[in-house]
């Protein structure tokens, strides 16, 4: 920096930049430090309650309403201060909640969806509320909650008796709920000449309408999502659920259930244009209905209403009339409630204040405020009847339809083990969505997997607690021994003072990295190895972990069908993505190595996709692979059309090819390849490595080869490939490792659907860890993944020795 005792202008810049960066870093930390300092030092003697909620479909409006309501609570209760946390949508909410729970610092009051009640209550995360109700009643508290004011099903949804939800102790006060049904495009009904049915319509009327609308040009009868809860609602209309008395006694084999599922499968797969359930993920939920080309969409709850209200009015471009109808009836008239409560953490230090807040947030006024969003129905009957919810000025007109359904709606009961839903959904997907297997087979798969899940040694309740004390002592001993050995080792042999000093300086300068590595890499890695021997729900603190020995490994190596599927899917992907990607990247690098005008621009353009962010790009590619309107299938369709046309010109018949439904019916063949095709888009990094390799090849060799009579192809085979072989090996190893780490794309684009056919290994690992809370199992999976990748890498290194030529003389 200093030359001839003077400072050059360049170094002033550098010094300036360093100061600016340092100031920014200091400022960032200062902010946090000051905030915490203020919090601890402030004379505010009020009790602090941490409140966590989400605002998914409700967006900013919901956030503002909750915020305003909490501020009003603060004003009404001067002794209490509320800290609000809103991580975003429900997914982020549960992730955040889990980390807070696992850290032993849960929020005091938070949302809980009724499907989570069993798993949360089972490990004692949420507090039973009856004692508060009793106390209020005893004290004649005017704010006391009378559960009779609520729709009974919404209350029962938060009961848990130790094995399943629906009855037992109360773990939350429902804040709002929804029943489910279909949203109808009234214009299409009119065009098809189908009379709009009443609220007590039947499945026969439903399917007749769907068929009639499906016969209209460019229209489809109905979207019918097959989510686990919706399927169970559908079965309930035929008087049967999947569970009988308990989750050990499943009724899915009941002839009524089988018949109903067979009927649904036939509607979807044996008829054209009647049902379109999710040609892909895009075609679920609101968006497919918004197109105006689908007669009905459902079963959905009230949550789609805010986005449907943005449908233009009839007469405007893209506008049409629409309304809601509750679930049609089969042999019985049934519906379900999906609801969210305000619950209190078991570990909350201020349960009484928390209870006050729960009452505040679920009282009539709060519910009416929230009802204005149109997002959900107030759980208090009086509030639900009020004008805030049943707003005649706003669509849908049939607000009464939701409420009528509420009177006969049931709670969908869920077991403690959250895998139930996942197993049920994926096996039903295979039968109903992709249609790859029959209903009977899907039921058998589901029953087999669920029974294996229940019979697993991991499902046993009596495991001894983790010997944390012993492990901590062993770990500490190990660290101290290693450190001592390091010190001794570094002192071995005679060394000059200058050398010692230099060594000390070296350690000192490297220490930020070493400390960071130990704390943030080595420790978690070691911890995951320990956890792989444990049964630990990620939502509880570590002292709840139980010692499971090798049970996790045993189960995942011998008895996990989904793991085998995920491995198969991952390998299938790797088999296409690795060689394909290398060929594309090498081909691109050869092009980029040409000396033509503007080559730098081309290189940048080809590299660009590699710097784009994962989630956004994945959303983009979801559209590309959409079976109906996606770019990929439109191009394929055009190509097939051109092929057919030229064949017809020669008098031959059409090819009979159709573009695949990537993530739908053809997912078994085309699901993983779709991700491989997508991965080719990110070959920029690999391409750059190849390009650098190509530019290292001495020009002499090509010249010598061309004098020797080698043509371009022979030069590529005899010079380029051998000279690139170390680069190829490196890239292949990186690609193999990368192919086992596919996550973001699959998580965003398909979530593993359908039928686990795109559930890549790491995605399944994530599901285990963050959806089923099986941290021990997930840790074991991570170590198995490491072993797989390690073995593959070693095999590649060993077998490649013969083909890989390393430059340079042995020195």
């Amino acid at each position: 920096m200093l030359r001839d005792g003077r400072t050059s202008p360049g170094s002033w810049w550098r010094i300036g930049a360093v100061i600016v960066v340092a100031a920014i870093v200091a400022w960032a930390f200062m902010h946090v430090a000051v905030r915490e300092w203020r919090r601890t030092r402030s004379p505010d003697a009020r009790t602090e309650l941490v409140v966590m909620h989400w605002s998914g479909d409700g967006g900013q409006e919901e956030d503002q309403i909750v915020d305003a309501s909490l501020r009003a609570f603060e004003d009404a209760n001067p002794g209490i201060r509320v800290r609000r946390v809103n991580p975003g949508d429900a997914g982020s909410f549960y992730t955040k909640l889990m980390t807070m729970l696992a850290a032993g610092e849960p929020p005091d009051v938070f949302y809980v969806g009724n499907e989570r009640v069993p798993s949360f209550a089972d490990i004692g995360l949420i507090r039973p509320l009856e004692p508060f109700l009793e106390a209020d009643r005893a004290a004649n508290d005017p704010t006391a909650i009378d559960l009779a004011d609520f729709y009974p099903a919404t209350v029962d949804a938060f009961r848990f008796d130790g094995t399943a939800s629906g009855k037992g102790a109360l773990y939350g006060i429902p804040k709002d709920f929804t029943t489910v049904g279909f949203y109808l495009n009234l214009d299409l009904f009119e065009r098809a000449g189908v009379p709009v049915p009443g609220n007590d319509w039947t499945w026969d009327e439903f399917i007749a309408a769907a068929r009639a609308i499906g016969r209209l040009p460019d229209a489809t009868g109905s979207e019918f999502v097959t989510w686990a809860a919706m399927l169970r609602a559908y079965l309930m209309t035929e008087g049967v659920d999947v569970k009988g008395a308990s989750f050990d006694d499943l009724t899915i084999e009941d002839p009524r259930a089988v018949a109903a599922l067979e009927r649904l499968r036939a509607w979807r797969h044996d008829e054209d244009n009647t049902l379109t359930s999710g040609k892909s993920k895009i075609a679920t939920g609101s968006s497919v209905f918004l197109s105006g080309k689908v007669g009905m969409a459902g079963p959905f709850g009230r949550w789609v209403v805010p986005s449907y209200r943005k449908i233009p009015k009839p007469g405007q471009p893209g506008g049409f009339r629409w309304d809601f109808h509750p679930l049609p009836r089969g042999t019985t008239d049934a519906n379900i409630v999906l609801t969210v409560s305000w619950s209190i953490a078991q570990r909350s230090k201020h349960p009484d204040e928390a209870w006050k807040l729960v009452k505040w947030m679920t009282d009539d006024r709060s519910q009416r405020d929230l009802a204005k969003l149109g997002l959900a129905i107030p759980t208090r009957k009086a509030a639900a009847m009020g004008p805030e919810f049943s707003d005649p000025a706003q669509e849908p007109a049939n607000d009464a339809g939701y409420l009528q359904a509420a009177e006969r709606a049931q709670v969908v009961e869920w077991p403690v083990n959250p895998q139930f839903e996942s197993l049920f959904a994926s096996s039903m997907d295979a039968a109903l969505k992709t249609g790859t297997i029959g209903v009977r087979e899907a039921i058998d798969t589901f029953l087999r997997d669920w029974r294996s899940e229940s019979a697993s040694p991991l499902a046993k309740a009596d495991l001894s607690p983790m010997p944390w004390r012993g492990l901590a002592i062993a770990g500490a001993t190990l660290v101290i021994t290693a450190a001592a050995w390091l010190v001794v080792w570094s002192r071995r042999g005679p060394a000059s003072t200058a050398r010692r000093r230099e060594e000390r300086a070296g350690w000192l300068l490297a220490s930020p990295w070493i400390i960071g590595f130990l704390a943030f890499m080595a420790f978690p890695v070691a911890m995951s190895l320990v956890l792989s021997l444990a049964r630990w729900k990620g939502v509880s603190t570590l002292d709840q972990a139980e010692f499971a020995g090798l049970a996790n490994y045993e189960r995942l190596l011998t008895d996990d069908a989904r793991l085998r599927t995920s491995l198969r899917v991952t390998l299938y992907y790797a088999l296409i993505a690795v060689p394909g990607g290398q060929m594309m990247a090498l081909g691109a690098a050869l092009l980029m190595n040409l000396k033509v005008r503007g080559i730098a621009l081309w290189r940048a353009a080809w590299y660009l996709p590699s710097v784009l962010a994962g989630v956004g790009v994945s959303v983009l590619w979801r559209w590309v692979f959409d079976a109906d309107g996606g770019l990929m299938n439109r191009m394929l369709g055009a190509a097939i059309g051109a092929m057919d046309a030229s064949l017809a010109w020669f008098g031959a018949g059409p090819t009979g090819l159709v573009p695949p439904e990537w993530f739908e019916a053809d997912a078994a063949v085309w699901g993983a390849p779709a991700f491989a095709i997508m991965s080719f888009w990110f070959m920029g990094g690999t391409m750059m490595v190849y390009l650098a390799g190509l530019q290292q090849v001495p020009v002499d060799l090509y010249e010598a080869a061309s004098i020797d009579g080698a043509g371009p192809l022979r030069r590529f085979v005899s010079v380029t490939l051998p000279m690139l072989s170390p680069v190829i090996l490196f890239n292949v190893i990186m690609a193999v490792i990368g192919s086992f780490q596919v996550f973001t794309q699959a998580f965003v684009m398909t979530g593993g659907d359908p039928n686990n056919l795109t559930r890549f290994y790491v995605l399944y690992l994530y599901n285990q860890a963050f959806e089923f809370y099986e941290m021990g199992y997930a840790s074991a999976m991570a170590w198995v993944l490491l072993a797989i990748v390690l073995v593959l890498t070693v095999v590649l290194m060993r077998t490649s020795a013969r083909f890989v030529h390393h430059e340079g003389a042995p020195r």
Partner: protein, 374 residues
């Protein structure tokens, strides 16, 4: 007959840079011709145009009576040895040498050999012929023990030899060498030079050789082509170039140590011409015609000798003993001269001594443009 004829050959790079222009050269069959010049003089480009590695922008190149301007390198019947040897690093020495022949096989298809026994026999015979030629070349260069080694296991000299062997195997009409010895150390370079000359005699082939080292050129060439700035300065045998350089550049480039140049004004005194410079005056030999008022004389250091009343009087600045000779640098007024003296004549000298140098031998006279006068 493997003659190489270059007619008005020029190379213009995109962007208009002229690397070579107007090269006329007739390389006779069996001749060893060396292109020499400072870096950037166009000698390599010229060679590469002969090889076909550079497109010929202007003029015509004929090899063995065939115009090769539009003929691929592999079809020009040439072989080339590169400065960095350009051995295929992933092939054994034997395969490196046979690679070119393998590419030229007429019965190379393994598939056809499997289908037709006659073809298979032809193929076997061809393989044997290739092996024979590789062995022949290996024997010639003493490479037999190295045939199964990889290039990375060889020393620089051995690699050089393999590169030459690879060229020999092909039995080309013309050998092209692009600075083949410049990556070797001085001792090895000397040895390889001798070997190349012997090889040339044994093969009797036409060879074109590029180097920047005039000593190497002098040692190897039948004829030398001196180039500068893309233009041929002089073509001639080593002795011709040494004794009658056509201009100051060639005079200065050829010969070690470098020729002394003394520049001055031309004085005409009746029919006698003389050169005057700041420190003295010297009469030019009779019969030399100089146009213009400026001229220079070139004096080879080994033609200078201490002469009592020599025209160059000055101080000894440094003495370098080389064994039987010594290089003495004398600073005379206006010029510095390097004299190569027999050691016994330099023995009495000390740095700082005053000495007068004269030249009983021949001086070269150049006119103001640097062209040889007379």
């Amino acid at each position: 007959m493997a003659e190489v004829i270059l007619q008005s050959v020029g190379k213009v790079y995109p962007g208009g840079v002229r690397a070579v222009q107007g090269v006329d050269l007739h390389v006779r069959h069996g001749e060893f011709i060396v292109l020499v010049g400072p870096s950037g003089c166009g000698k390599s480009t010229t060679l590469r145009m002969v090889a076909g590695l550079e497109e010929i922008s202007e003029g015509r190149i004929t090899i063995g009576g065939r115009v090769v301007n539009d003929i691929a390198p592999s079809d020009r019947d040439i072989a080339m040895v590169f400065q960095n040897y350009a051995l295929y690093p992933h092939m054994t020495v034997g395969r490196n040498m046979s690679f070119g022949l393998e590419r030229r096989r007429r019965h190379g298809s393994l598939l056809r050999a499997l289908l037709s026994p006659a073809y298979a026999a032809e193929r076997r015979a061809e393989t044997a012929r290739i092996q024979e030629r590789v062995d022949g070349a290996a024997d010639l260069l003493g490479l037999q023990p190295l045939l199964h080694r990889m290039p990375r296991e060889l020393s620089g000299g051995q690699r050089q030899r393999v590169a030459v062997g690879r060229a020999i195997v092909r039995d080309p009409a013309v050998f092209l060498f692009d600075e083949p010895l410049s990556n070797l150390d001085a001792k090895l370079r000397g040895e390889m030079r001798t070997e190349l000359r012997i090889l040339h005699r044994r093969l009797g082939a036409t060879m074109m050789y590029v180097t920047h080292d005039q000593e190497e050129a002098m040692g190897l060439a039948d004829r030398i082509v001196v180039m500068k700035d893309g233009i041929v300065q002089q073509v001639g045998s080593p002795t011709e170039l040494y004794e009658r350089p056509v201009n100051r550049f060639v005079a200065g480039f050829i010969g070690t140590p470098t020729m002394n140049i003394v520049e001055g004004d031309v004085e005409r005194d009746g029919g006698v011409l003389a050169l005057r410079w700041a420190g003295g005056r010297i009469t030019l030999p009779a019969g030399i015609a100089v146009t213009g008022t400026r001229a220079s004389i070139g004096i080879r250091p080994d033609t200078l000798a201490p002469v009592a009343d020599g025209p160059f009087r000055g101080t000894v600045q440094s003495i370098e003993f080389l064994g039987d000779r010594a290089d003495v640098l004398v600073a005379s007024s206006g010029v510095r001269l390097n004299a190569r003296l027999p050691t016994e004549r330099a023995r009495g000298l000390r740095e700082g001594d005053t000495i007068a140098l004269g030249m009983p031998g021949v001086a070269h006279v150049f006119d103001g443009d640097g062209r040889r006068a007379g």
